[in-house]
């Protein structure tokens, strides 16, 4: 039984009634997105548990299509009158002259299984257990060095219940767990102060912190990054060979390729890739997938926010554009297959094509050989985010890098933004490592004001030349 049936006594009869109101003025399609989310957080700084928080997000989003136009209404009051009012707001897009749109009989469908391997759900865990994890990360960070002057450790867990119903007869529900443990360290040496960050989590339970990325590892990594930056020089400025570390640097693929293969930008013909299906846009070494079905990963989901079953989608194969990330609207307009990438921040937002877990496939090169092949260049170790525009110009920010001199990593360097144009950079990827890794499970992607959890992955990569924006 879903939470909407159990707590709010809403069932198929109510769903059909709201769908009929949504299509009362005509319209081709109507959809209901019910959401109930429970979020809990803990924050520790200055050696104390400073605050805890709990929040409930409840609401219904109603969408109606009339041709390619979308009407949308939402409410966080699930009384019959308010749900119908939201449905009438969405219905305003359609012409009242036409006959009511059809509503098919609802046929319940299960979501994919096995994506959320949770043994100890955060939702029902004792708060003291979670406080223990936060304290472990905090203590581990602080004890690395007396130069660590401030530590902030935080916990967040979320469970998102969704039920999606549409006029084509779809009825599917999903309960999506998420946890995140993060640690920030501030290190000081004389007048110099630096910042380090680390984190972990995903669609898992508390058991995930018992091995691998434990609180102790997360705390230590944050401290070590801050300490290393104290010794770091300014990054170089200008064009040079760039080697991207495995894992973190997946953000480059997210920005340079992923966004521009989201199908709404193709429907609108604003993406530089819109007319390049089947065309070569990068070197043979570039094969890119987006896969929402990786168990435990932060970007995964058992059903997308339009009720479509998600599937691993090939975006670029050996340098050639091979696929798009679609939502229902763009798939319909473009005549492309549904890939299950229609996502929304919450019930108040219209779903749009989004990435889930995006990665570049492993290549043939030994990671050590990649570094050895560079005489003088830049090694990007820790990346903190990026941005792209439809023209293909993109940036990503490196918080910690190294100079490469005569095939070896030498001095650590700090804070640099790297900029390029996607097709240019994809063509310049000249080596790809065998060592595919994914990021820390803390990433969030923003598009049109909507934020959704994502993850990225990549092997060690070499870009023949790219502009590095350090202070010189």
């Amino acid at each position: 039984m879903t939470i909407f049936e159990d707590r709010f006594h809403l069932g198929p009869v109510d769903f059909v009634a709201v769908l009929k109101t949504a299509l009362s003025r005509g319209g081709d399609f109507a959809e209901l997105f019910f959401e109930y989310r429970l979020h809990s957080s803990i924050m520790m700084e200055e050696d104390i548990i400073k605050e805890t928080a709990e929040s409930v997000g409840l609401g219904l989003g109603v969408r109606v299509w009339a041709g390619e136009q979308t009407g949308y209404g939402y409410t966080n009051d699930l009384s019959p009158e308010r749900m119908k009012k939201a449905a009438r707001s969405a219905a305003a897009i359609a012409l009242s002259a036409s006959a009511p749109g059809p509503v098919a009989d609802l046929v319940p469908r299960p979501p994919l299984s096995g994506l959320y391997p949770v043994l100890e759900p955060a939702e029902s865990a004792d708060l003291n257990r979670k406080i223990g994890l936060v304290k472990d990360a905090y203590a581990s960070c602080l004890r690395v060095s007396p130069s660590i002057k401030k530590v902030k450790a935080g916990w967040g867990d979320l469970v998102q219940h969704v039920t999606i119903v549409n006029s084509e007869g779809l009825l599917v529900s999903d309960v999506r767990p998420m946890v995140k443990l993060t640690c920030v360290a501030i290190a000081e040496k004389g007048p110099v102060r630096e910042y380090g960050f680390s984190g972990g989590g995903g669609r898992v339970g508390l058991e995930a912190f018992a091995a691998g990325r434990t609180p102790a590892v997360i705390g230590r990594e944050a401290a070590e990054e801050a300490l290393l930056l104290l010794e770091a020089a300014d990054a170089p400025a200008g064009e040079m060979p760039v080697v991207l570390a495995a894992g973190d640097a997946g953000v480059l693929i997210h920005e340079a390729v992923g966004h521009l293969l989201e199908a709404d930008f193709h429907r609108k013909k604003t993406s530089i890739f819109w007319n390049k299906m089947g065309a070569r846009v990068g070197s043979e070494l570039v094969t890119i997938y987006d896969d929402p079905t990786i168990p435990a990963s932060r970007g995964s989901y058992a059903v997308d926010d339009e009720g479509t079953e998600p599937r691993r989608t090939l975006l670029i194969e050996n340098g050639v554009v091979s696929g798009l990330l679609t939502d229902k609207l763009s798939a319909k307009i473009l005549g492309r297959p549904l890939t299950g990438h229609g996502r929304r921040q919450d019930y108040s937002e219209i779903p749009i094509p989004r990435m889930a877990n995006t990665y570049i496939a492993a290549g043939p090169h030994d990671p050590e050989e990649i570094v050895k092949s560079v005489n003088r260049g830049f090694y990007a170790r820790r990346l903190t985010g990026g941005q792209v525009e439809d023209s293909g110009k993109f940036t990503f920010s490196v918080s910690l890098g190294y100079l490469i001199e005569n095939g070896r990593l030498t001095r650590p360097v700090k804070q640099a933004t790297l900029i390029g144009t996607n097709i240019d950079i994809l063509n310049q990827i000249c080596m790809a490592g065998t060592d595919l890794e994914f990021g820390q499970q803390t990433g969030t992607c923003g598009k049109e004001g909507q934020h959704v959890p994502v993850n990225d992955g990549c092997p060690t990569l070499k870009i023949a030349s790219m502009t590095v924006g350090g202070r010189g």
Binding site: T52, N76, E239, T467
Partner: protein, 449 residues
């Protein structure tokens, strides 16, 4: 549980939950309620793409017990849910640690009259959807009539009508209404593989002050086409002129470095600089929550502290940090009325305009970059370091000679404040953080080798 919202006025509802919190054993209780009506239309290439209309409510709760804090929030305002969250919060507070700085603000004898701030425009509240659709459609139509514009990301018209209520167990009870109207268009120009894009907008509390479609469209077109056929300049150090929107984003970064929270967390490079010179004499930065009709104004902050005008940097000297009650107690200052949720946020935070016209600033530059857009997030408040992708116009002998793209600018906010040579007279308020054109003596540009 029905999930339906209770009837009745929001002030009594807030007071009722304050009493409930005290009855559950809390020492102090704060309840905030927001009631918002949203309308939005997106038009693209002449057709409505999205039409959104909704009314929503949300509630925020702060509980203090034995100097221990717990927060809660909900968009489900049914009494069952709120009462459960309050009971949980009182219980959870026990698990936090005692913190002498925790707690509600002191009570204030004076209050700001919401009517004097004039933040509510009844015209926005009753504006019919057809008029809003027409505003967006007309803005995009004018922009697309320019043959150099090849595509549109769309035009949008959005309105908000908000009602905020706050009550606490020290007897504070306040409310105000605020409206918002925004109109924007986003465009593309150029050849298929050599696209440039930009946008323009207007956003105000009053419809009468919103820029007309013609002005927004023409500005968006001019901003887009001026970037056509860009070059990549060589790596070098040059003066950089920030146009007002770029000064605004630099001030957003500065704001983050000037909060009391960042000071006690040591996450700002300005933490130890109170009372010292941090910028040139001509730099005065003000946070003012009392400007009538401005988007950043309000009679009180999210803790019920009356809004005020706070000179933060005066003639180059750092006068105070911006605080909520907690951060103020941590660093031994007074709250500046900048509480925003559990954190600290700007009111109207702006750089006082100077005397030079933007034209004079451009003409004063022999060689330099006129910065019009940045890409990326390379701003580090702990060090003040800046490194971002940049788009702009190249200046030689006081004139624009060609657009530049695919370069980066880098520097340090601390150095930059000491190197602001000229400040423009062109301050306008289309957001809560804004500034005029400024000229910085020198920054590092990375481009061609």
């Amino acid at each position: 549980m029905t999930g339906s919202h209770p009837a009745g006025d929001l002030k009594s509802l807030a007071e009722k939950f304050v009493r409930f919190g005290l009855a559950c054993g809390a020492d102090e209780v704060e309840i905030g309620i927001g009631d918002d009506i949203e309308f939005g239309v997106d038009v693209r290439v002449g057709e409505i793409e999205n039409l959104v209309e909704a009314g929503t409510r949300s509630m925020g709760v702060r509980i203090i017990k034995d100097q221990k804090t717990a927060f809660a929030g909900s968009s489900d305002l049914s009494p069952e849910t709120i009462e459960r969250l309050i009971r949980n919060a009182v219980r959870r507070a026990e698990l936090a640690n005692r913190d002498a700085c925790a707690g509600l603000p002191e009570t204030f004898s004076s209050a700001v009259d919401p009517a004097e701030l004039d933040l509510y425009d009844s015209e926005i509240a009753v504006l019919d959807p057809q008029t809003k659709i027409a505003l967006a459609t007309e803005t995009e139509r004018i922009a697309l009539s320019d043959p150099r514009i090849i595509n549109s990301h769309g035009a949008s018209c959005d309105t908000h009508v908000g009602h905020a209520v706050l009550a606490n167990s020290k007897g504070f009870l306040g409310e105000y209404r605020k409206t918002y109207a925004g109109l924007n268009v986003s465009l593309q120009a150029g050849e298929t593989d050599d696209l440039v894009e930009d946008f323009w907008f207007s956003s105000k509390t009053h419809l009468a002050e919103l820029a007309p479609p013609e002005e927004i469209a023409r500005t968006a077109v001019a901003r887009t086409v001026r970037q056509l056929k860009p070059r990549k300049v060589e790596t070098q150090r040059v003066p950089v002129i920030f146009e007002p929107m770029m000064t605004g984003s630099l001030l957003g970064f500065l704001f983050g470095c000037l909060t009391g929270t960042a000071v006690y967390q040591k996450s700002t490079f300005l933490a130890e600089r109170l009372g010292e010179r941090i910028g040139r004499e001509k730099i005065t930065v003000i946070d003012d929550g009392l400007l009538p009709r401005r988007l950043g104004s309000s009679p009180f902050d999210s803790e019920g502290v009356p809004s005020r005008r706070t000179p933060v940097v005066e003639n180059g000297v750092l006068k105070t940090f911006l605080c909520n009650t907690y951060a103020a107690r941590k660093i031994g200052l007074a709250t500046t009325g900048n509480a925003d949720g559990a954190g600290v946020g700007p009111s109207n935070f702006y750089l006082q305009p100077g005397k030079s016209t933007p034209g004079e600033i451009i003409r004063s530059t022999r060689k330099g970059l006129y910065l019009i857009r940045t890409l990326g997030h390379g701003l580090n408040p702990v060090t003040g370091d800046i490194s971002q992708g940049a788009f702009g116009l190249w200046i030689e002998n006081g004139e624009f000679v060609y657009p530049v793209s695919e370069i980066t600018i880098s520097g340090n906010l601390g150095d930059l404040l000491m190197n602001i040579e000229m400040i423009g007279d062109d301050l306008t308020f289309d957001g809560s953080v804004c500034g005029p054109t400024i000229k910085v003596a020198e920054m590092q540009i990375a481009g061609r080798s």
